[in-house]
C-alpha cells in the first residue's frame, strides 16, 4: 500500500447577497443602533424579521421597533470559541427575546462563566464599535438589570439603506485523493503515467479514479501508458488566466496517450498555435521539479490516422 497523500485544501468564497426590504431595514437599523422587528398578520413581532410569515407565508412589511434589551430563552456555554464566532473568549450562545418581540434572536452572550448565565436572565445588546449593516453589528449580548431604554421611534426610515451583505466563508480541509489517484500521483513522481484497466470492458483510464464509469467496477490493474500520444481535439485559448504565466494564444488539447482509452488534457507547446491539428503526435515535456508534464510537444511523427482515435473523441 502506497503512502496516503494528504494536502491542505482551503475553500474560500465571499458570498455577495442582496437583501429584501425587511432584511435591509433590519440590518440598516443595526448599523444605526436601532432594532426592528416585523409584525405578522396575527400581531406577533418577529425579531430577527422575516420577509414572509413563517407560518402563513404571507408577505409581511410592517416594521416595528423593539428594545435592545431582552430575556434569554435558552443558552449553551461555549468554552472553546471557534473561528468566526462573535467572541474569542469563552461565551454563551443564547437565544434572546428582545423586549417587544415574540421570537428570539441567536447571538453570543458575554458572561464570566456558565454559573453567571441562566434562562430568564436579562441582557442587552453590546453594539460593535464599527457597524456596517450586518448581524455582526451586534458585538454580543451582555448581562443587564436595568429598565429598557427609550425607543428611538424609528420604524425603518434610514438614509443610505444597505442593499446587500458580503459574507466571507472559509472552510479548511485536508484533502486525500484516494487509492487510485494516489498511485497515479506517485507514478508521476517517477515521470511515468500509469492508468488502470477495467476488469470487465478492459478499458484503460488515465488518470484513474478507481471506478470504471461504464461498468461501475473497481479498476485496479495498473497499466503504464504513453509517453507519446495523439491530439484528439483541441481549442485555442485567447484569454489569459489569472495567476497563470502562459502567453496567449495557446492550445489546450485532449490527448489520447498510447495505450489509454480515455483522453487526458494538456497544453500543447513547441509548435505555433495555428498549426496544431487533430491527429498530431505529441510527447510530454517535464520541467525540473515539475510534478506533472508542463506541456506536450510534437514528436515529429506522421499524424495519426483518424480511425485510430475516433473512439476517443
Amino acid at each position: 500500500m502506497l503512502e496516503v497523500l494528504k494536502a491542505p485544501l482551503v475553500v474560500e468564497f465571499p458570498f455577495t447577497r442582496s437583501l429584501g426590504p425587511v432584511q435591509s431595514a433590519f440590518l440598516t437599523g443595526l448599523r444605526e443602533g436601532v432594532v426592528l422587528g416585523v409584525r405578522t398578520g396575527d400581531g406577533r413581532v418577529l425579531v430577527p424579521p422575516a420577509e414572509y410569515d413563517p407560518v402563513t407565508a404571507e408577505e409581511i412589511r410592517d416594521l416595528v421597533e423593539v428594545a435592545p434589551t431582552g430575556t434569554v430563552t435558552t443558552w449553551a456555554w461555549n468554552h472553546a470559541p471557534r473561528r468566526g464566532q462573535p467572541l474569542a473568549t469563552p461565551f454563551a450562545w443564547a437565544l434572546v427575546r428582545l423586549d417587544g418581540a415574540d421570537t428570539a434572536l441567536l447571538h453570543a452572550l458575554d458572561a464570566p462563566g456558565p454559573d453567571a448565565v441562566h434562562t430568564g436572565m436579562r441582557v442587552r445588546i453590546r453594539w460593535a464599535a464599527e457597524r456596517t449593516g450586518a448581524i455582526t453589528d451586534i458585538a454580543c449580548f451582555e448581562p443587564y438589570d436595568g429598565d429598557p431604554p427609550q425607543l428611538t421611534g424609528n420604524t425603518g426610515q434610514f438614509a443610505n439603506p444597505v442593499s446587500g451583505i458580503v459574507a466571507a466563508a472559509r472552510l479548511d480541509y485536508t484533502y486525500s485523493p484516494g487509492r487510485a489517484q494516489t498511485a497515479y500521483i506517485h507514478a508521476l513522481g517517477d515521470r511515468r503515467i500509469v492508468g488502470e484497466r477495467c476488469p470487465s470492458c478492459r478499458k484503460v483510464y488515465v488518470p484513474p479514479r478507481g471506478a470504471c464509469p461504464t461498468c461501475g467496477l473497481a479498476t485496479s490493474e495498473p497499466v503504464e501508458v504513453g509517453p507519446r500520444g495523439t491530439v484528439t481535439t483541441f481549442c485555442i485559448v485567447n484569454i489569459k488566466a489569472k495567476n497563470l504565466d502562459i502567453e496567449v494564444p495557446y492550445v489546450y488539447a485532449h490527448i489520447a496517450l498510447d495505450g489509454a482509452d480515455l483522453a487526458l488534457h494538456g497544453r500543447i507547446g513547441g509548435i505555433p498555435y495555428d498549426e496544431v491539428r487533430m491527429g498530431l503526435r505529441v510527447e510530454p515535456v517535464w520541467t525540473e521539479g515539475g510534478r506533472y508534464p508542463d506541456h506536450y510537444r510534437p514528436t515529429g511523427e506522421p499524424d495519426a490516422d483518424y480511425d485510430t482515435y475516433k473512439e476517443l473523441l
Partner: protein, 354 residues
C-alpha cells in the same frame, strides 16, 4: 402520505452499508461507496442495468470536493445512460423521491444510495453553511452549539436532565455492540462538556460511511426478497428556519409527518430514530408517542454511527433489514436534516404476516 388502496405496493428489498469509521483517507468517495453498491445489488442478484431509477443524497461541502456526486456515479456504472437524480440532502429524501417515482409506475426498481465523508473537514463548521446566510451563518454557530441550545431548552422545560441524556447515550451504544457497522459502541465515557449542557458522549461520532437501499414494486419485490419491507407511508415536513421562531422542545414536523405516513394508525414494534444528539431522542420519542414497548434504535442509531447524509437512509435500511429477517413486523424509520431537527421524514414499513 400513505399509499392508498389501488396504489402500487413498494418495498425495501435490500440494504447495505459500510463499516463506518473515523477516517477513510485511503479511499476516495467513490472507492468508499462502490463496495456498498455491489453488495446491495448482489443481495438481489440484480445488475445496474436491471435498475430503472437511481437516486442519491450527498453534500460536496463535507469533503470539500466539487461535483463529488457526479464522480460517485462512476461507481454505479452509468452506461447506457441512467435515469438518475440527486438530492443535496440525506439519502432518506432520495429514497422518498425514488418511492414517488415507483408510485407513478414509471419504474419498478430503484437504487438509492448516500454517502458522507466528513473526515477531511471540520463538520461542526461545515454545517454552519446550511444556516440562514443573513442572520445566523455569519456568527458561525456550530452544530454542537445549536444542539446544546435545544438540550438546555429541554432541561429548562423539565423534559430531561444530564443523567437522563447520559442514559440515552449508554443505551444506544450498548445496542450498537450487536451492530458490526457501528463506529462507537459499548461503554463510552460521557466526557467533558463540549458545549454545555452537551458532553462528548451526548454527541455522535464523526465519521465516513455510505449506505444503499433497493426499492421494488409489487411482485418484483416478492421475487427479489423473501420478506419485503413494504413502505406503508412516507412523509416529510419542515419547520421555520428561524431557530428563535420554533419551540425547540417539540417537533411538530415529526408528528405531522408521522401522522401523514400512517404511523399512529397501529402501534409499531420498532423505531429507528435519527437523533444525532441525545436530547433529540427525547424530543422524537415525545413527538412520535413511543412507549416503552417499542424497541428504539436496536442498531445504536446515529449516536453509534453518523455518516452525514447517509445516517437517515441507514435508519430506513436498518428498520427494513429487521423486517427482512423477521425481527420486526411493523417499524417506523425517521430521518432528520438541518439544525435542531428542522426537517423530518417518517416512513412506516411492514412485513407480511408470518
Amino acid at each position: 402520505m400513505t399509499s392508498a388502496p389501488g396504489d402500487r405496493e413498494i418495498a425495501v428489498v435490500a440494504f447495505a452499508q459500510t463499516v463506518h469509521r473515523r477516517t477513510s483517507d485511503e479511499s476516495s468517495e467513490v472507492e468508499m461507496l462502490m463496495p456498498v453498491l455491489h453488495e446491495v445489488l448482489d443481495r438481489t442478484g440484480m445488475k445496474t442495468a436491471d435498475i430503472d431509477f437511481t437516486c442519491s443524497g450527498s453534500s460536496d461541502y463535507l469533503a470539500g470536493r466539487a461535483f463529488s456526486f457526479t464522480l460517485a456515479l462512476d461507481g454505479v456504472g452509468a452506461w447506457p445512460p441512467l435515469s438518475e437524480s440527486h438530492v443535496e440532502m440525506d439519502g432518506a429524501w432520495a429514497l422518498y423521491e425514488a418511492w414517488t417515482k415507483l408510485l407513478t409506475g414509471d419504474a419498478d426498481t430503484a437504487l438509492v444510495y448516500a454517502y458522507g465523508k466528513s473526515s477531511p473537514g471540520s463538520v461542526r463548521d461545515v454545517l454552519t453553511r446550511q444556516l440562514d446566510p443573513y442572520y445566523v451563518a455569519p456568527l458561525w454557530p456550530d452544530a454542537v452549539a445549536l444542539a446544546a441550545l435545544q438540550a438546555q431548552a429541554l432541561i429548562d422545560a423539565g423534559d430531561t436532565d444530564e443523567p437522563a441524556l447520559a442514559a440515552v447515550a449508554a443505551r444506544n451504544r450498548e445496542a450498537a455492540t450487536a451492530n458490526p457497522h457501528a463506529q462507537l459502541k459499548g461503554p463510552v465515557p460521557q466526557g467533558d462538556h463540549l458545549v454545555r449542557p452537551l458532553r462528548t458522549g451526548d454527541c455522535p461520532p464523526i465519521g465516513d460511511g455510505a449506505a444503499a437501499v433497493i426499492l421494488a414494486a409489487g411482485d418484483r419485490a416478492r421475487d427479489l426478497c423473501a420478506r419485503p419491507a413494504w413502505i406503508r407511508g412516507i412523509d416529510h415536513r419542515i419547520e421555520a428556519h428561524g431557530l428563535g421562531v420554533r419551540d425547540l422542545t417539540d417537533s411538530p414536523s415529526t408528528r405531522l409527518a408521522a401522522e401523514r405516513a400512517g404511523a399512529f394508525e397501529r402501534p409499531v414494534d420498532t423505531a429507528e430514530l435519527h437523533a444525532p444528539f441525545t436530547a433529540q431522542e427525547i424530543v422524537l420519542r415525545k413527538a412520535l408517542r413511543l412507549d416503552d414497548g417499542v424497541v428504539v434504535n436496536p442498531s445504536g442509531g446515529a449516536l453509534a454511527a453518523n455518516p452525514i447524509m447517509a445516517a437517515g437512509l441507514i435508519r430506513i435500511g436498518e428498520a427494513a433489514a429487521r423486517i427482512h429477517r423477521g425481527a420486526s413486523d411493523r417499524a417506523l424509520a425517521h430521518a432528520t436534516s438541518g439544525p435542531c431537527l428542522q426537517q423530518n421524514l417518517v416512513a412506516v414499513l411492514e412485513g407480511e404476516p408470518r
